[in-house]
């Protein structure tokens, strides 16, 4: 993952929220899910991931509970709360607007160059 794309500030939270919108997952599952979906392009440091999880749980966007994996291993499962779902909706809408505007400006610049 050393050669993965560095994450823009704030995007990790959004990605975690999006990931968990598929259902409760433990930390390792979130990490692999993100790697798989981005075909390994997004570099998520495990330490950063867990820090983000604790922070988001503290803010009440996620809740967590110990459970058992399919391989009968104990793992801490995270799940979106109602506040988390609201957050995901707002953040992704803003992200979309943001990237659309940035992209349109960048494409303009290319044409005039």
């Amino acid at each position: 993952m050393d050669d993965g794309l560095p994450l823009l500030k704030g995007t990790l939270d959004l990605l975690i929220l999006k990931t968990l919108s598929w259902g409760p997952m433990h930390g390792y599952a979130i990490a692999t899910w993100l790697e798989d979906r981005s075909s390994g392009a997004l570099g998520v440091d495990d330490s950063a991931l867990y820090q983000a999880l604790q922070r988001m749980e503290g803010r009440g966007w996620l809740s967590a509970e110990w459970g058992t994996t399919e391989h009968n291993r104990r793992a801490r499962y995270y799940k979106l709360t109602a506040a988390g779902r609201r957050r995901l909706r707002d953040e992704s809408a803003m992200w979309m607007r943001y990237t659309t505007s940035v992209t349109s400006i960048l494409s303009l610049a290319t044409r005039s160059a």
Partner: protein
């Protein structure tokens, strides 16, 4: 996958702390690494290499782990906090749900608390202003002081707040403990000219006064020390914000305009900011003028004694305030002031004849609170207010006890529900917090209502205690609302504790069994104690009420020797209109004729002295008596013929003053009965000769004897009083008494207008009902009586409701038992007696303890009473009787209901 707070608390938060969070984080990291290693091995990696790779994904593993421990700890702290809020919200919703189910109960609780809290908020708003709240905008309220001078005089210590200007200057130059000093007084003066002239408060203050405040002027500037130099300063004035708005509509061109204040025309140089009232929040000044600019009028007030007002130590007239330097203690400042006073006293003895030697006077300086009611010369109003606050707190205690009792009764009713919840594993702490949240919610409701009650009822109280026009609201005053909130919160906690106390002993099995609660009747000791406590406090308050009411009755029954109702006092303020003696006489004659000719006026007379307000005394010489002065203080009034009719003072022998006693005729005097007895015991005083001021002057002959009047004190007034003819003595001085046909206040304005037309130049008349002057004398008793009666009745009503509630509840609990008794042949009256007896027993306890407390406390109120023993058996007896009757009624109603119940139904219901 539920995220219940209870789960989290049970599983891992109960241990709490950083260690717990870290341990859990380690578990999670370990689980993560294990899964990654398993995946990597599955992909064909060697297990050791896989583990290294997994750890590497954390970067610097040890640092990452430490960071994650910290993150987990922060998370848990945040979650705990959130849980508490969630619990509280749930408890609150639960309380509201319960409240909706029992609206009558909630109304009783909230209303009881509202009355208790309202009484307190109202009293607090008064006492706070009298005793605690420093004047607004003061820069350093805690180190700003009012200065008093203590002198020993004839074995007593006199505390003087009014200090000569010269002494203020001595202090300002020779003390080192203070960073600044100022001298100030608020004086009622006529502002404006012509028909707009109104008497208003004016702050007469040194230039340094404004430095004590953080109150930059909104317009112009304050005057400087250069404009405030004796003897006459500069005639400049700073308007208050309020006056600027009412009189000048806030116009900016006021600066430079002239304004007549008192005898002087001032130039307006500034406007103080909104809310600046100097030291006088109760009577905010309309304007501020330099102390020295007022000097001319001070000199006039000194009646031409010839001294220079700014150097004499003889004329005391204004307060000194001082700000302590930051590192100087009050004790050090006091010592500094005392030595400055001693030096100043020595200076004064050198120039002023007749002063006591310093060894006798023992001058001391006192650095007191800026609030005069906390200084050595506090008024009796402040004392009474403090007492009434104690009373209000007692009412609050009764309200708390009542609510505790109501909550207890309900807790007992809900025993089974509580037992069920305990059995289901709800922790006692959780249950307790729920009960307290509930009672606090009620209490806050009560607090809101209480503030509204205080707002409404408090206006009446404030007009009794606080003089002046500024009477700020309760509900918009942060301090009062805060106090009410604290009182409510504390009430909620106290009352909420009672049922918790009860749940401690809850035996799960017992209460889960149906039928138990209806079967047995248990007296709750706590409830009985609360009832007795309420009864006790009510007795104490009602005894206080009785003592004050009897005092007030005594006060009102004191024969004054005149009838103050329907009498207006007319005072003449000449304000620089310098008339010669003849024109002064003529003006007064014209005013008297004018007043007497008005249809609203029954009669009018001239006067020099006013009872309880203005006193005249002169040296008297009587043949055969060495020193008349040794026999007592003889007071004098100079009056016209209609005086005795106007005042309603009876002539007992001889005649009153008549038209014959005019200027140039033989001087006549009417003496009071006591004066006649003192000077000529056993003889007819008519025709006796008295020489006034010197024993070389011609005789003044006694022509009549009038009944004694009270002029100085309601109690023990010596009654040594005599009357001269206004035509013969100081005919160019004094004012009028006017007896009106209807109520004095109705005619006041018409009379004022009529008389004002005759006043020359800027001079004017001031009218005041005589009963108002006397009202000041009797105020503390009126206040005490009113307040004790109001709060005492409130306490009685609350206690009665409490008793009624408890007896009703007990009867409901005993339905079964009473039914059995009835079935076994008990008569209705037997059953009723059974129930009433219990209520009365409790009350007798309360009366006994309460009377005991009242007897012990009594000596402290004695100085506030009037010709009334604080242990008056009548009062104690009456209070006991009232309490027993009320208790009997409160328990009879439910007893009667119980007795009429059908025994069969009671027996079957189980």
């Amino acid at each position: 996958m539920r995220d219940t707070p209870a789960y989290r608390r049970l599983l891992h938060l109960r241990l709490g702390g950083a260690r717990q969070s870290a341990a859990e984080m380690d578990l999670e990291i370990e689980s993560h690494i294990a899964m990654r290693v398993a995946d990597l091995v599955r992909q064909g990696m060697d297990p050791d290499a896989a583990r290294s790779a997994a750890l590497a994904r954390f970067g610097d593993f040890d640092a990452a782990r430490a960071r994650l421990h910290a993150a987990a700890y922060r998370r848990d702290k945040a979650l705990r906090h959130r849980d508490r809020l969630v619990d509280l919200a749930a408890d609150f919703r639960y309380a509201l749900r319960q409240a909706r189910r029992t609206p009558g109960f909630v109304a009783a609780v909230v209303l009881t608390l509202a009355l208790g809290i309202g009484a307190n908020a109202a009293m607090f708003s008064i006492v706070d202003r009298l005793l605690f709240r420093a004047p607004p905008m003061l820069r350093h309220p805690s180190s700003t002081h009012r200065i008093y001078l203590a002198d020993a005089y004839r074995g007593k210590t006199l505390y003087n707040e009014y200090i000569p200007y010269a002494r203020y200057v001595d202090f300002a130059t020779s003390t080192t403990a203070f960073s600044r000093l100022a001298q100030a007084n608020d004086i009622e003066m006529a502002i404006g000219s012509g028909p707009d002239t109104r008497e208003m408060q004016v702050g007469v203050v040194t230039a340094s006064f404004f430095d004590f405040f953080d109150a930059p002027p909104v317009l112009g500037h304050y005057y400087t020390a250069a404009e405030d130099r004796p003897p006459n300063g500069t005639a400049v004035a700073v308007l208050s914000y309020g006056f600027w708005h009412t009189r000048y509509a806030g116009a900016h061109n006021v600066l430079g305009q002239a304004i007549q204040i008192g005898a002087t025309k001032y130039t307006i140089i500034g406007v103080a900011p909104r809310g600046f009232v100097g030291l006088w929040p109760g009577s905010p000044p309309a304007a501020f003028v330099p102390l020295t600019a007022y000097g001319r009028e001070i000199a006039a007030g000194m009646l031409g004694r010839g001294d220079r007002w700014w150097t004499t130590y003889n004329f005391t007239w204004a307060t000194v305030i001082a700000e302590r330097k930051p590192n100087v203690s009050v004790a050090a400042a006091t010592a500094d002031l005392t030595s400055a006073y001693a030096r100043s006293y020595q200076t004064a003895t050198a120039t002023t004849p007749g002063m006591q030697p310093i060894t006798v006077d023992r001058p001391r300086g006192i650095v007191a609170s800026i609030l005069s009611e906390r200084g050595p010369n506090e008024s009796s109003t402040a004392k009474v207010a403090t007492w009434i606050t104690g009373v209000a707190i007692v009412v609050w205690l009764i309200a708390c006890a009542n609510v505790a009792n109501l909550l207890l009764a309900r807790a007992l009713r809900r025993r089974r529900e509580i037992a069920v919840r305990l059995a289901l594993g709800v922790s006692r702490a959780r249950l307790a917090s729920q009960l307290v949240t509930e009672s606090v919610a009620f209490a806050l409701g009560g607090g809101v209502m209480g503030v509204l009650i205080a707002q409404w009822g408090g206006a009446v109280l404030r007009s009794q205690f606080l003089s002046g026009s500024a009477q700020p609201a309760v509900a918009t005053d942060a301090r009062t609302v805060l106090y009410a909130g604290a009182a409510a919160l504390l009430a909620g906690l106290l009352a909420g504790l009672a049922p918790i106390f009860q749940t401690r002993g809850v035996d799960l099995a017992d209460h889960l069994k149906a039928g138990v609660r209806e079967g047995t009747y248990q007296r709750s000791r706590l409830r009985i104690a609360l009832l007795v406590f309420q009864g006790t406090l009510s007795v104490v308050l009602l005894v206080g009420a009785g003592l004050f009411v009897r005092s007030l009755r005594q006060v009102n029954q004191v024969p004054l020797g005149y009838d103050p109702s329907h009498v207006l006092e007319v005072e003449l303020a000449m304000r620089g209109a310098a008339l010669d003696s003849a024109r002064n006489v003529a003006l007064r004659e014209r005013l008297l004729d004018e007043a007497a000719s008005m249809p609203d006026v029954a009669s009018a007379s001239r006067q020099l002295a006013v009872p309880f307000a203005m006193h005249w005394a002169m040296r008297l010489y009587v043949t055969g008596i060495d020193s008349v002065a040794r026999l007592g203080q003889f007071e004098m009034n100079a009056v016209s013929p209609a005086y005795f009719r106007t005042m309603g003072t009876r002539i007992l022998a001889g005649r009153g003053i008549s038209d014959a006693d005019r200027d140039g005729a033989t001087r006549a005097m009417v003496v009071s009965q006591s004066m006649a007895k003192t000077l000529w015991p056993g003889r007819d005083p008519i025709g006796e000769c008295v020489k006034i001021q010197a024993d070389t002057v011609p005789c003044t002959y006694v022509v009549g004897v009038a009944e004694d009047i009270k002029a100085r004190e309601l109690d023990n007034d010596p009654g040594l009083y005599y009357y001269l003819s206004a035509a013969q003595f100081h005919p160019d001085d004094g004012g009028l008494f006017v007896r009106t046909r209807g109520p004095a206040t109705d005619a006041q304005e018409a009379v004022r207008r009529q008389l004002q037309r005759l006043m020359p130049g800027a001079s004017y008349v001031v009218l005041e009902p005589l009963s108002d002057l006397l009202g000041e004398e009797t105020r503390s008793w009126r206040l005490g009586a009113t307040m004790f009666v109001v709060f005492g009745s409130l306490a009685l009503v609350l206690a009665a409701i409490g008793l009624y509630g408890v007896v009703t509840y007990n009867v409901a609990q005993r339905t079964h038992e009473l039914g059995v008794r009835a079935a076994l042949g008990a008569r209705m009256s037997d059953l009723a007696r059974l129930v009433v007896r219990e209520g009365l027993q409790l009350t007798v306890f309360g009366v006994a303890i309460g009377s005991g407390i009242a007897l012990v406390v009594a000596p402290w109120v004695a100085p506030l009473l009037f010709r009334e023993s604080p242990r008056d058996p009548w009062v104690f007896g009456l209070v006991a009787a009232v309490l027993l009757v009320v208790a009997a009624l409160a328990s009879f109603v439910p007893a009667h209901r119980a007795a009429r119940a059908d025994p069969m139904q009671a027996l079957r219901s189980d």
